[in-house]
């Protein structure tokens, strides 16, 4: 079956130069190795239907570069056929302004309400009872990736939790290995902090602070400990002169760094580099402290175009995105978890299986993107990128700023 589709895809790819009945332009920012391989699976699945063809509108540089393009295309009245956002609050306003297409009919026909697990993913797509987006995967942030070879070189056992890891930092330093790899992009710093908060203080603390805006809790003792842990992480991260997250991951892959706290998408990089979970690298969900993963992820939105042919292609894509075959193929490449529990991921590696187990056990938490607006995230980015890059800022001072951001959030 898949084979058949591939053949079809190849033949449509050949005639892609000709004007097609419904070219569906899809904007996304998946341009790293694993991401590009994953998105190719989506394109292949759409192109399998000879009526539609996927026109790739990849924008490198992440959401910051791509989002203004998406928004201006939409308000400029010349929208693309579909675009990728992190589901959560990013698209709220576009939906309210009626610029995005209601996909409830597809969701009902495909029975999304029954298959999407956890249901919170679909809720994130739902505004006033209507469904506006198609979730494609679950991404969780709470992973610690460790290089087995690096710890071997340092002469210590591969840690099984955060405390063991911090204890091994000096040994790693002594072996001229970067203890913790951290890219300079702001979102990596705030992501790291949020992981520490969710695992060391607990998911309910994070939900309470970001979801309810509880500034007293943010100013409390428990958070102070998280800030101390962050300061420790800062010491371990000092000296990793890289920008992009996957460059930081590459430090772990090449055993130049002991570990990295990064979402499960990092797994795609390990896979592209040909590394095997367990043998070459170790992954610790929830930092080995508590088994919890957040259920953020990517979703596709479909702007209103008023063009029946494009709408047909949009419907087709929406359905395809959640189809079991696509879910398996896509998520294996992307290193993320499928949004439906009923697919067979026999091919999944150790790390994904760990994630699936946690998911099946239901120990999930909402993603930060679902709780915070981008504005709040941006302020957190500013705070933590500064904190992690500048030793001069005390954990206490950072906490103070943190509290003021929480107080201001809406």
């Amino acid at each position: 079956m898949t084979h058949m589709r591939n053949l079809l895809a190849a033949s449509t790819a050949l005639c892609a130069g000709a004007v097609h009945a419904a070219d569906l332009e899809v904007t996304h920012w998946w341009t790293s190795g694993g991401e590009a391989a994953a998105v190719a699976e989506l394109a292949r699945a759409l192109d399998a239907n000879p009526d539609h063809s996927w026109v790739d509108g990849a924008i490198a540089g992440g959401g910051g570069t791509a989002r203004p393009i998406v928004v201006s295309r939409i308000i400029g009245g010349d929208p693309m056929g579909a675009f990728q956002f992190n589901h959560g609050r990013q698209a709220e306003e576009l939906i309210e302004a009626g610029l995005l297409r209601d996909m409830t009919h597809v969701a009902e026909a495909e029975g999304w309400a029954d298959i999407v697990n956890p249901p919170s993913l679909l809720e994130a797509c739902t505004v006033d009872g209507r469904i506006y987006c198609a979730p494609v995967n679950i991404h969780s942030w709470q992973w610690l990736w460790l290089s087995n070879a690096a710890f071997e070189a340092a002469g210590v056992d591969v840690p099984t939790n955060w405390d063991e890891y911090t204890a091994a930092a000096d040994a790693l330093r002594a072996a001229d290995i970067q203890p913790l790899a951290l890219g300079a992009q702001p979102w990596q710093s705030s992501g790291l902090f949020n992981v520490l908060m969710a695992t060391l203080a607990g998911p309910e603390v994070l939900t309470q602070i970001y979801g309810e805006g509880d500034s007293e809790l943010a100013a409390g003792e428990e958070m102070a400990r998280v800030f101390q842990a962050a300061a420790a992480a800062r010491d371990m991260a000092r000296g990793s002169n890289v920008q992009d997250w996957n460059q930081a991951t590459n430090l772990v892959i090449t055993d130049a760094a002991g570990g990295q706290i990064m979402g499960d998408w990092a797994q795609g990089e390990f896979a592209v580099a040909g590394e095997t979970a367990g043998a070459d690298y170790t992954c610790l969900p929830g930092l080995g402290v508590r088994d919890v993963i957040s259920t953020g992820g990517d979703a596709f939105y479909f702007p209103e175009t008023g063009d029946a042919e494009i709408e047909a292609a949009q419907d087709a894509l929406a359905a395809i995105l959640l189809a079991p075959d696509t879910q398996v193929a896509f998520n294996l490449k992307k290193g993320s978890l499928p949004i439906r529990g009923d697919v067979d991921l026999a091919a999944a590696n150790d790390c994904m299986k760990k994630g699936l187990e946690i998911l099946a056990a239901g120990s999930t938490m909402p993603d930060v993107n679902m709780l915070n607006t981008e504005d709040t995230n941006n302020q957190l980015n500013d705070l933590f990128v500064q904190f992690f890059q500048d030793d001069g800022i005390t954990p206490e001072a950072a906490q103070e700023t943190f509290v003021s951001i929480v107080r201001r959030k809406d």
């Binding site: 928004v71 308000i75 306003e93 920008q243 504005d375 941006n378 302020q379 500013d382 500048d390």
Partner: protein
């Protein structure tokens, strides 16, 4: 039987018609766009512009934000250094080129070519040259001088100067050409007179030639200054504002809050502050330049 005085609106009618694109640009885009921006800076627009007015709230927040303060400080440092240094270097280079040297074309081309490259390219190359591992620092250390440290892009204290190095590399060529053009416009007899009077060369430049080149300096300043205010691409390509927020600049603040942060109101408030600063500089200048004199 004297003719009726024609409607002054139709005097030079064709000139006015031909200036319509300019008038439209000035009024609709620049004035209109500015007014639009200022208006929406008083709203709490997030992803889309919305008329939900919140007074000065965005401004209060702006001036409480450390990143904005850092951005302004950086722009001041970069702006002053860039203005002074590019004028100084540009002028000195132009003066050297003006010594009737051989291979003038070659030298000039070498100094000017970076101007053809975008800030993105400039930023990338210099990011690389200044990379401590395999850039200059790495090379010097590799030669045996292990203690050598030159990592401006990774040191929050001096990162803005790392950007300045790249900015000057890209921009001084044009300044040099402008200055050279100015020098070529100086009457040769000035030099003869100065030589006869026994005035040293540096004094001639400082007290006679430079004051004569006032218009060139003004044009150059407009070009440099407009570039400084818009400083964005170079920072993004070179440091993305890092390490931490040490090399943030106002234009990047505007962009990040408008688009990444999905807080248009905040971005508009920041840009309004930038526009205000520009107005404070441009209006007196424009008044001096065009207000006073009329040609006969």
């Amino acid at each position: 039987m004297a003719h009726a005085r024609p409607n002054p609106l139709f005097r030079n009618l064709m000139a006015k018609l031909a200036a319509i694109p300019m008038i439209l640009t000035a009024m609709v885009v620049f004035v209109g766009g500015t007014a639009w921006t200022v208006t929406y800076s008083f709203t709490n627009s997030k992803l889309l512009p919305r008329e939900k007015f919140v007074g000065l709230q965005q401004y209060e927040r702006l001036w409480e934000t450390e990143r904005w303060m850092v951005s302004i400080e950086n722009l001041m440092i970069y702006g002053i250094c860039s203005m002074v240094l590019s004028l100084l270097i540009g002028f000195v280079l132009a003066a050297l080129m003006d010594q009737k040297i051989r291979f003038e074309n070659t030298f000039r081309t070498i100094i000017l070519y970076p101007f053809a490259l975008s800030f993105i390219v400039t930023g990338l190359v210099w990011q690389w040259i200044l990379n401590p591992e395999f850039g200059i620092q790495g090379i010097v250390r590799g030669m045996g001088w292990v203690g050598f440290t030159f990592d401006p892009l990774y040191n929050a204290q001096i990162v803005i100067f790392g950007i300045l190095i790249a900015g000057l590399w890209q921009g001084t060529g044009l300044v040099m050409v402008l200055m050279l053009a100015g020098l070529r416009g100086i009457d040769q007899e000035i030099w003869k007179a100065a030589r006869v009077d026994g005035i040293p060369m540096w004094k001639t430049y400082l007290f006679i030639v430079i004051p004569m080149m006032r218009p060139v300096f003004i044009t150059t300043l407009v070009i440099i200054a407009s570039g400084i205010v818009k400083l964005y691409d170079l920072v993004v390509a070179q440091t993305s504002g890092g390490p931490g927020i040490a090399s943030e600049v106002p234009a990047k603040y505007v962009y990040d809050y408008m688009f990444s942060g999905q807080n248009l109101g905040q971005g508009f408030a920041a840009s309004t502050m930038m526009l205000l600063a520009v107005l404070i500089v441009v209006i007196p200048w424009a008044y001096l330049e065009f207000g006073g004199k009329k040609r006969v």
